[in-house]
Amino acid sequence: MNATPHQKVALVAMNSVGYHSLALGYVQAWAQADQRLVGKSGFMTLDLDVEVDPLWVAYRVAGLAPDVVGFSVTCWNACAIYDACRLVRQILPDTYIVVGGPEVTPIAEEVLDAQPAIDAVVRGEGEETFAELLVTLIKGRSPWRVEGVTARRDEEVISAPDRPLITDLDAIPSPYLTGVLELVEAGAYIETYRGCPRRCGYCFEGKGFGRIRSFSRERVEAEVAHLTSVLGLRSFSFIDPIFNLTRERLEWLTGVMEPRARAGVCLHTIEVDIERIGPEEAAMLRRAGVVSVETGPQSVGARALETCHRSFDRDRFVAELDPGVLQMSTLHVLPGTDLWQRAEEVGLSYNPSPPHEVVSTGEITFPDLRRLEVMGNALMSHYRARV
């Protein structure tokens, strides 16, 4: 008979509809494998839709009565999660509330100042840091001493030094191979590397991940085999910022996927660098079973892209472009990005509340941005209306 864990841990994500959180899968898989927590900590992940009312998020958390609850925060779900944290704090005053993710990492101290319900922020890659924090809490030690954690000490907010990036990504147990992640058709995605070679001023992909680190090919191939052969998924995705990062990598992934594609497995919503997709690369994507790709430099305006340090081959982009769907929206200024730091310098005004949508620029007024949003919606609808 299993002993009751001393420490009940709830992990909460609010995802796009139909998806599960890979980030929390990693965090749970790492913590479960940590020998110091075996038999002491029990885990439960709540994968909820971003549209769920914070009252019901708090209701679900209250039902678990956890000692520690961790929320994965992005710009899209931050406001809802902050609401849920306030409710959880009222309902479960002794529960230790932790948040992590790209939205809070660069502004950890500001988050704790503004959100008194939250006890700690896990900054950067969360796997190792969260497990260390759990061990620290079990031992009754000081959370603000854990590398990568920002936490309260009485009335103070203290940030411990950053934790170095995980050198060997294979050290993170696979949430798929360990059975941590419950799979959903078309809702699973595999990560093959972290970081991004680009340094686009608006994006958080490369933020804090100075170099590219890859999972081993054996690990990726094992995950693909598990999803398709063992679990029988017919559709999934890769979450990599650039699927065609290198030609050689594209050839490898095509080779991995091709036999599955012949058996009817498809890949959806793959992000590609479209300027580097010629006929041969397009043929490879087809052989890999790719049914939809996403691409976009966020703007086609030369000056805007220059401001964002985004190289852009306009001629190649236009030549290769015949998309089935256009997606348009105003830009969001994400914490920690280059644009966030240079907003005043480049004349950007944005909503300080998540998701930090641009309110006006030096050249576009707030009313014109709203008009452009309506125009963009009409353009997207017109574009999609085809035989």
Binding site: L372, V374, N377, L379, H382, R386, V387
Partner: protein, 235 residues
């Protein structure tokens, strides 16, 4: 694609439409129109085909023309209509099935009281509203994406009703609206109402484009000179 006169000023529009309804219009035959479509697609393979005229859906060969345009390879086919023909049972569904994806419905007012007298046909506003609904329902039933676009003729008779008409179109769930201004418009007199119509569209999240009006007349609404469809007349 024009098979009738589009040159009439909007001062004459009510009369033109009434005349069209009262007398049999003359049509260009499909055999004459198809080469124009082929030629347009040869120049630009991605070109769309838009059928215009007093009432293209009453063209005796309209189904043949639509089928021909699809066969020729066009991916976007639109019609500009009063909306009345769409209210006939199964008409909307047949057109969607044939390949029409953009339905531009012309109105001259926000309700029967303002639209019908200008259109010269009692019941035409109600029929248009039924037609718009029929298109959206048929598209949803087929799982097909279509666009219903509103078109409002701007003249001294329609001017003060423009904001209400935009609102009415928004309630009908159109995707965008074009305010068609005649070249002879006395800009300053009209600017205030056109600006109000544009703002009505924005707050109802429907794009309002203004055609054929000087940018300076639009003032701080200059963005509304941009349409989401560009049309080059081919014949």
């Amino acid at each position: 694609m024009v098979y009738g006169s589009e040159k009439a000023t909007w001062r004459r529009v009510a009369g033109v439409l009434a005349q069209a309804a009262a007398s049999a219009p003359t049509y260009r035959h499909a055999a004459e129109i198809m080469p124009i479509i082929d030629e347009a697609l040869a120049v630009s393979s991605g070109a769309g085909v838009f059928f215009l005229g007093p009432e293209p859906l009453e063209h005796p060969e309209i189904r043949q023309l639509i089928t021909g345009a699809v066969s020729a390879g066009t991916q976007r086919i639109g019609v500009r209509t009063s909306g009345r023909p769409l209210a006939d049972a199964s008409s909307a569904d047949e057109l969607i099935s044939a390949g029409v994806r953009v339905f531009e419905v012309s109105l001259l007012g926000s309700c029967s009281e303002t639209h019908d007298p200008l259109a010269g046909a009692e019941g035409s506003f109600a029929a248009a509203a039924i037609g718009v609904r029929a298109v959206l329902d048929a598209a949803e039933a087929r799982g097909v994406r279509v666009v219903v676009r509103g078109r409002l003729g701007v003249c001294r008779h329609t001017l003060q009703d423009l904001p209400a008409a935009v609102r009415r179109f928004a309630e009908m769930r159109v995707t965008s609206i074009v305010l068609a201004c005649p070249g002879t418009l006395e800009s300053r007199r009209f600017a205030e109402w056109i600006a109000a119509a544009c703002d009505t569209g924005t707050v109802n999240r429907v794009w309002v484009a203004v055609s054929d009006l000087a940018l300076e007349t639009l003032g701080d609404k200059a963005l509304h000179a941009v349409d989401v469809i560009t049309m080059n007349e081919a014949g």
